[in-house]
């Protein structure tokens, strides 16, 4: 059988077998309402043909399709879609990072060392950073785990700091918190304050003052820098002086003389209250006792002071207390107030006596002075609360303020200064000194005194 004949037989055979079911099909189509469906179908087809025509116009002949996805890709070129995707990714990155940064809580610990702790809202530590060289050294050697609770980190950190003698008795810890929410800061202050107090009690380090302050996250300065800046602004202290102050001093100065809000931990607050109370008592007792026993004590004091005077005169000037240092003759006049300038006496002529004001001043200067917030810090020889501290007092906790302090307090101590000027005024005769003898215990030999006077003083 030939190939063509075989194909013909196959075709004929199937033709005989195939049934004519056109009527059945048409009826089925009518039953299915396909005939009525035509109008919608035509409309839909027109729309799709329109899409196809547009796609052809854009040169996508090989990509003709009625599928929505493909039509979409035909309408928008791929490079536009990829650019959109890139933009979306970039936006996600930027806003994602910013969103996370808002949830970050920063804590700066100033002991010294100064360390910045970055943590999340759950108070899990994310990063540590040393803000100064000591801080970097401590962070480098500190054993801590990422995402561990900040309280545990503080325990380890305090242990390390105490072991390395960065923190000892009467030290200070300044904790600066910056968080997006103020409530977070308050909760942290409470929790951290308790934790620090507990750990310090464990480590048997008493007298540590723990203070908290809040700062804005975007603030240029963090930690103790904020307090330093405040002291510079409100007290006129120099930057070098402020930078050399210990954390404890910073906290105390800022509490006494600035409007910075510092919150103390419970233990520190109690200690602070006790200190204030004690100072008040110390202030009250001299007032009452001085009036009653003043006359009795005067004699003893005279004897003691004359002995001290002899010893101190033998000391070099650098080691003498500030209030007993010889006053240089060319001390600036602006230290005296205007009233004092009016009543200021001309150079001593050897005959005039001191005015009444000056006679009363020695009593006043012995009275303790109340520390007033906003006033400049006290001068040398005074405690932080404004009390006059005896020269060489071993109990004075704070160092005497630096020279800048004296320069920036024209009113305070002007009487004393004037007094000391008067006492050491060259040309002052014996009689005047003798009348002031009780109130001017210090007798110094100044370079301007004549040889006769020197002999008299020595005698």
């Amino acid at each position: 059988m030939k190939k063509r004949e075989m194909k013909k037989r196959i075709e004929d055979g199937f033709s005989e077998l195939a049934p004519d079911i056109f009527e059945t099909v048409w009826e089925a189509a009518e039953e299915l309402e396909l005939v009525g469906f035509k109008a919608d179908a035509i409309q839909l087809a027109d729309q799709q043909n329109g899409c196809m025509a547009k796609a052809q116009e854009h040169g996508g002949q090989d990509r003709i399709s009625f599928e929505f996805g493909k039509a979409f890709t035909n309408r928008f070129p791929r490079y536009v879609l990829s650019m959109c995707a890139c933009l979306a990714v970039i936006c996600l990155c930027i806003f994602g990072v910013r969103g996370n940064s808002q949830d970050v809580v920063y804590m700066v610990l100033d002991i010294n060392p100064s360390i910045q702790v970055e943590m999340n809202r759950a108070n899990q530590v994310k990063r540590l950073r040393g803000l100064n060289q000591d801080g970097k050294d401590v962070v480098k050697e500190l054993k801590w785990k990422k995402e561990e609770p900040v309280q545990e980190l503080l325990d380890v950190l305090l242990q390390d700091v105490v072991d390395k003698s960065y923190l000892g008795e009467n030290g200070g810890i300044l904790v600066t918190l910056s968080a997006p929410d103020k409530e977070i800061c308050e909760k942290l202050e409470h929790a951290l304050g308790e934790g620090i107090d507990r750990k310090l009690t464990e480590l048997k380090v008493p007298g540590v003052m723990t203070a908290f302050q809040q700062a804005k996250a975007d603030h240029a300065k963090q930690g103790r820098k904020i307090l330093e800046a405040e002291l510079e602004q409100s007290c006129g202290m120099r930057q070098e002086e402020v930078e050399q102050m210990s954390v404890m001093e910073l906290i105390q100065y800022c509490q006494d003389y600035t409007s910075v809000e510092l919150k103390l931990s419970e233990v520190s607050a109690k200690e602070r209250e006790a200190q204030v109370q004690q100072k008040k008592e110390d202030k009250v007792s001299p007032k009452t006792e001085n009036l009653a026993d003043k006359e009795k004590d005067d004699q003893k004091i005279k004897g003691q002071k004359s002995d001290d005077q002899k010893q101190k005169n033998q000391m070099p000037d650098d080691q003498k207390p500030d209030d007993q240092k010889p006053v240089v003759k060319d001390e600036p006049d602006d230290l005296l107030s205007e009233e004092d300038e009016q009543t200021e006496e001309p150079p001593f002529d050897g005959e005039d006596s001191l005015p009444e004001e000056e006679e009363q001043q020695p009593e006043e200067k012995n009275l303790p002075q109340e520390a007033v917030p906003g006033e400049p810090p006290p001068s040398a020889g005074e405690s932080l609360s404004g009390e006059v501290v005896e020269p060489g007092d071993a109990n004075s906790q704070t160092e005497p303020p630096k020279e800048g302090l004296e320069q920036n307090k024209p009113d305070q101590g002007s009487v004393e200064d004037e007094d000391s000027v008067q006492e050491n005024e060259p040309g002052m005769n014996e009689d005047s000194q003798g009348s002031e003898e009780d109130n001017a215990p210090i007798q110094m030999v100044t370079p301007g005194q004549s040889g006769i006077e020197k002999d008299l003083i020595v005698k």
């Binding site: 075989m6 194909k7 199937f14 005989e16 077998l17 195939a18 089925a28 035509i42 003709i64």
Partner: protein, 182 residues
């Protein structure tokens, strides 16, 4: 028919679909007359059951009628209709979980008694007896449906070379069989 297009064994004017879209029964009738024999042969080859093939043929024309607006003038309309028929068969097979139908099981249901010409009946009987479904489909699609080898390859998802070699092997096999007996 567009100028330049090759002359096909089964030629379907693509404008028929436009007329069918507008609801012309005559156009649908023309389309049916041209295409129902290859389609039935194709479906019978698959199903090996006259009734199933008949049902599927009806469903195929329903789908063609329903989706004639989806047809775009590209390619062979017969290939498009055969694709619909094949998909319907596969769907039905999947539903009935009888994708592979054994000829022995269907033997009693497949009857060529309606064929009056004895030689034609013998040829078809031998064809269904000797050839597999794929081989039968190759003969039907190419020789009755008039699809090109390339269109067959696309429809059956086979490489073109496979289609060519398999087709010629099947023809040789049938010639050998019928040459001896007829």
């Amino acid at each position: 028919m567009q100028e330049g297009t090759p002359k096909r064994k089964v030629h379907i004017d693509e404008r028929l679909f436009e007329r069918i879209r507008q609801g012309e029964q005559d156009a649908f009738r023309v389309l049916y007359e041209i295409s129902y024999r290859p389609l039935y042969a194709f479906l019978l080859s698959y199903t090996q059951n006259a009734e199933d093939a008949k049902d599927l043929l009806q469903d195929t024309y329903i789908q063609v009628f329903k989706n004639c607006h989806m047809y775009h003038e590209k390619g062979n309309p017969m290939a498009w209709m055969m694709k619909i028929a094949k998909n319907l068969y596969l769907m039905q097979s999947r539903e009935e979980k009888k994708a592979v139908i054994n000829y022995e099981d269907m033997k009693d249901q497949l009857s060529f008694d309606n064929i009056t010409n004895v030689d034609n009946r013998i040829v078809l009987e031998k064809m269904f007896e000797l050839l597999s479904i794929e081989d039968r489909n190759l003969i039907i699609i190419h020789d009755i449906g008039g699809l090109t080898y390339r269109e067959i390859a696309k429809l059956l998802a086979l490489p073109l070379g496979t289609v060519l070699s398999r087709y010629h092997r099947v023809i040789r096999k049938l010639r050998k069989e019928f040459g001896e007996k007829l």
